[in-house]
Subunit: 431 residues, 2 copies
Amino acid sequence: MNVRVGIVVTGTEVLSGRVADRNGRWMSEQLLEMGVDVAHITICGDRPADLTAELAFLRGVGVDLIITSGGLGPTADDVTVATVAEFTGRPLHSDPALREDIAQIIAGWQRARGFGDGTQLSPATLAGIDKQSLVPEGATSIPPTGTAPGVAIAAQHSEDAAMPAILILPGPPRELQQMWPAALATREVGEVLSRHDDIEQSTIRMYGLPEADLAATLRAAESDVDGFGDLEITTCLSRGEVEMVTRYSVRARPVYAELSAMIEKSHPRQVFSIDGSTIDDQLAELLRGHLVATAESCTGGLIAARLTERPGSSAYVAGGVVAYSNEVKIAALGVPAELIAEHGAVSEPVAAAMAQGALTRCGADVAVSTSGVAGPSGGTAQKPVGTVCFGVAVAGRDTYTRTLRFPGDRGDVRALATTAVLHMLERSLRR
Amino acid sequence: MNVRVGIVVTGTEVLSGRVADRNGRWMSEQLLEMGVDVAHITICGDRPADLTAELAFLRGVGVDLIITSGGLGPTADDVTVATVAEFTGRPLHSDPALREDIAQIIAGWQRARGFGDGTQLSPATLAGIDKQSLVPEGATSIPPTGTAPGVAIAAQHSEDAAMPAILILPGPPRELQQMWPAALATREVGEVLSRHDDIEQSTIRMYGLPEADLAATLRAAESDVDGFGDLEITTCLSRGEVEMVTRYSVRARPVYAELSAMIEKSHPRQVFSIDGSTIDDQLAELLRGHLVATAESCTGGLIAARLTERPGSSAYVAGGVVAYSNEVKIAALGVPAELIAEHGAVSEPVAAAMAQGALTRCGADVAVSTSGVAGPSGGTAQKPVGTVCFGVAVAGRDTYTRTLRFPGDRGDVRALATTAVLHMLERSLRR
């Protein structure tokens, strides 16, 4: 039986949907990559009774480790440490050294912000520091990466009950991620995670493949690939790409290799990644030595934003034009007004002219363009909502154009068009 | 006691962190706006035992309604309906009318894709349809918005046990959202939700206010505002804005009004919304009759993408330039090369020239610009990572510039700079 982890995300802002949870997702990915299974992620508000109920649930289903995120702040609505202490029957004690560390951090912040010399902390601040330096008896505190320390509590197995190990981490994603290595290095957590099986995880990514076609291939594999049952396969359609993630024990490596080869052979045009790399990773590689420009209408800047998301992208992104109005298409990209009058702004000739304009005006050697009807209004019988024309201009080559029709709402159409153009760019660069 | 709901999100791709959950968030927001409390959101993979454990947990903590999302597909790894049927002790029956409806939908899809005339469905497809038309005994099925029908099961209260109402919804967010009104209209769900108290929720949004300052105001309100204890307040810092959401029963309306007035009075420059509107909502209003352009360096298209996110934004967004390289700043925005040489690309003079360039070249009457060091590299002692220079150009006025320094990683800096420029634009337009 593999090690299983339960994650508890606390915070009324997450429970209420106002803020998307990033911590549960992030930790789950980290743990899966280590070969550790996550069984449940639960989210509750900052209420001791609800948090206790989730802890009891996870203990009840027998997870080996519970990780909580959030609720470590200085104010009264942050209740995680006290609630976990109560749950595990460990009284809270003040840790004077920790108290001093937190006071130093806060004094440093106040100095940096110009609030005095940091030697005078207000009574409210001091009360917060007192609260944040409380540690459950016998637990290990993990140095703060913001102001809140983490806490690691060892598993306890008695004859009549088992208490899993509990790791308490802060809520701000940056603090949590910075604390992660130190948290894994604690004896309490290390003890649990070291017991995990050797599980591997591999990802195949496909573009332009209907999920049903992949399902058919997998059905065939079920009978053709010996040991298929040892693979845990999940497929998922996201932004137009199909992602197939397989988990298997090291022993089943040859089985996975056989399946992977079969999928590549069945869908050679659609499989674009078998090593876990994303289209963004691949473009970052392919664009080395190139300079790319964008000319966006319906995607409104999403392509440029995506291309510049990565550190170091300034080496290959020249820039681009968001040509939302026809005037900007004409003035900033040099699209002939007659072309727009003749074919309409959403047309392949205009998309081609936009890409060529971006190429020239931004001094790039490769450029992509979009012009489409993102909706909800603006659709016609010939060009319904979801219609997007694309252009890919490469210096010294004919400009490639294409028209696709995407389902969904405005946000879907914009996201799908962005993914589509990245794949067109990738195929152009590989040619 | 108010009505409490528990949400179960199923799907290995969500549990593993590969896909962010949108359904739990979305439903939670919908329910809170209706005055219904969400107590827990739980996430598990497509494993019957884990799903059953979560259902039992939610029944155990006494929620009135459980809503599940996901696991309704035609393939074997989709287990929600069968698992819930087992959990509630209701055998599954095939619904012939539903079967026919689903077959029609799939045949229509196949015709649209050009796969024959849709009269010949493969054995695998037919098996999937058989599976999707199974309904637990006594339950109401909700017409599919994709291919999967939803299911509503009434609460059952016997002497020795209580079974909450259960609503089963599909996983794809669009299908779930489209099915939502019909789901709420079922007798089974309506019965539960009609019992909720009259709870209101109000939001105040602030920009540029340290959370600690708001905390101090709230501490003062605790003693100054009579009935303060009847308000359930949560505050949350997101993309540089502080959002304070308060829930209260209709009876406490005057208490909230007093608190709201106090906060507005204490932070007049920072409170920008007391009616729930976002900065995006406000800009959409303020930009009526204007034409806005963008000139982005470090934000790389995020501002333009944000401004064009809304339907109808083409009425006031002209477009913009993503001027990532200096060459593009010079060629596409007309920034003088000497200005860059003298002050550096990340400087207020260059930001001003960028905004002015966007204004002129895009034929706009208001334009914003960013030039900064998003990191992780490129920082210097004078301009460390996180430094961003902004410009706001309004036709007929002096161009406004400002420099801010943001914490965090590349993604944080880009997101915070985007929010900052939207607030600068808003203040400019109000002036």
